[in-house]
Symmetry: C2
Subunit: 334 residues, 2 copies
């Protein structure tokens, strides 16, 4: 499985705005100890609040990997960045990228990486032995975040639970299945880019046998109710063999992301179908709480919304960003 | 989408036994008009009942494609076959193969194909534009075969329904999703080999808009209850946007194929989950009949088994091999 060596120098390039540096921002938020500084080119409109460092300064501070945490139009590697990326290789950095096109597809980068013996890591492309899922019971405890839709807080919630468990000195590991998550974890597998037959198998490899009191917090993807991506969500659910699910939901969304004609499922439907399918590989699988992304709600509606859903479902309902994840951790089964 | 040009010369190589030529046998069974003859090398232990033809004889008879319809140990292309395959290219044949390794990975074959301007078609490898599924309603009627498990008659049943509809002069097209099916259809997409994000999208492309009175009979794969492959089955179910499902079942199976510890789901569970998930993209989706593969049952138990399941489910229950598919066709919605 691919591995990125921390600490990182976060490369923001010539980002057109703050949103273009969303990936870098997520990494800096969750792995502040790994992010030694940011490197911005002329015209960069983003700032993730780290010290501005040159390549040499970052290298002297101990950074091992330059992380391309920025998306530009088209999701490709900009010509404008090339000089900096080559200089980073020369200075001894690996480079990791979450972009669509591969670092190694640029001949100049591929040649320089080989000449300098450095690693180019494209986190969107799975680097994992293809194995068919087996469903054989594994040791350790596993939680998977699932959703009513895409992009409603599944990565954030899994990370918040990892942080809370670790703050209680309990054994916990975030398991990443998407590009930002992989940069945060330093390893993982982009499950939506695996060959279809191997979705469950890749997830089994991502969260293998572990100590009886260790929790894997597996980042979910998509939704069983998303007409584009439910196959990924299903394979991930079976491969996760989860004891606990946390259902993530964005309460203001009016239709499924990217599908204007498609309604969101109800929370009850979503709990029921995920539990039912999850029990194929773990008979104890159940939803233990609801994590709302209330960033689009007016502040004065947040508490009422949480209370209403908590009342309807009988499950602890929080916004992990506003409230932390302590109540989800309390709800974990022994 | 990949296209294989009929008619075919069926290449059986040095098949160790009849089972090794299972793919060729399936093609010859369902497309007798396309299969002009068989080509067997010294020591071949299989016979699919076609006339033995040399390459030149087959070419003169009008054959366009040599179909490698044989599996040898390891599923690879045998050195022993190479001379014949090269001669076929020289004679003007395309070559199509359902094996794991690609024809074009053999340099000698790749070079000769280029030199002769012939096509090498590896049906296991999808050749389809990657598009994300949309779930947008499509015109035409679609039926998908689903299963309690893998390998329980999903391709056979879809083909039997196509044949019955066509015998009634109704518009019907078999849509292939696996390697034997693709050789039978002359086109298709091996959905289990698509990148996970695109399972539903590839299925949408496989069965696009069509006439209101036209039925697509889509070959199912795996099972929503198979811990290895359910992601594929789910994406296929959503992408198919099926009006009708036929549930395929092998009544003597004691565990899920390849997973000795995993029980089969009940037929009722399987109907319920498939309908529920299928309705995400087609609210009319329902199971209209059961197709049993009774090849492992003693003859005198077949009728009782069909009757029992028909009584339990209230759905027409047949073995398409023994009884034909007329009763399934009668059960199709208008």
């Amino acid at each position: 499985m691919l591995t990125i060596n921390p600490p990182y120098l976060m490369f923001l390039g010539d980002a057109a705005d703050q949103l273009a540096a969303k990936t870098a921002d997520g990494v800096a938020r969750w792995r502040p100890d790994w992010c030694l500084g940011q490197l911005r080119l002329e015209g960069c409109q983003a700032d993730i609040g780290l010290e501005d460092l040159t390549i040499d300064q970052a290298r002297q501070a101990g950074a091992q990997t330059l992380v391309v945490g920025v998306a530009n139009r088209g999701g490709i590697i900009s010509e404008v960045w090339l000089e900096t990326l080559l200089a980073a290789l020369d200075a001894g950095f690996d480079i990791a990228s979450g972009l669509h096109n591969r670092l190694g597809d640029l001949p100049a980068l591929a040649e320089r990486a080989q000449a300098t013996g450095r690693q180019l890591v494209d986190v969107r492309y799975p680097d994992v032995e293809l194995k068919v899922g087996q469903g054989t019971p594994r040791t350790g405890r596993r939680l998977l975040t699932v959703g009513t839709d895409c992009s409603c807080g599944k990565m954030f919630t899994a990370l918040a639970i990892e942080r809370e468990l670790q703050s209680q000195s309990r054994k916990a590991t975030f398991r990443a299945t998407g590009q930002t998550g992989i940069l945060i974890a330093g390893t993982g597998v982009s499950v939506d880019a695996v060959i279809a037959d191997f979705i469950a198998g890749a997830t089994e490899q991502l969260a293998p046998d572990n100590d009886d009191d260790h929790w894997d917090l597996i980042e979910g993807q998509g939704s069983l109710f998303h007409a584009s991506y439910a196959g990924v969500s299903m394979g991930l659910l079976h491969g996760a063999q989860a004891h606990a699910l946390v259902l993530c939901h964005e309460p203001t969304r009016t239709h499924m992301r990217g599908l204007p004609q498609a309604h969101l499922p109800s929370i009850a439907q979503c709990i029921d179908l995920n539990e039912r399918c999850g029990r194929l590989t773990n008979p104890d699988c159940r939803v233990i709480g609801i994590s709302l992304n209330t960033s689009q709600l007016p502040d004065d509606q947040v508490d009422d919304t949480c209370k209403r859903i908590e009342h309807e479902t009988g499950l602890p309902t929080i916004d992990a960003y506003r409230h932390g994840s302590e109540r989800l951790v309390e709800a974990l089964p022994e």
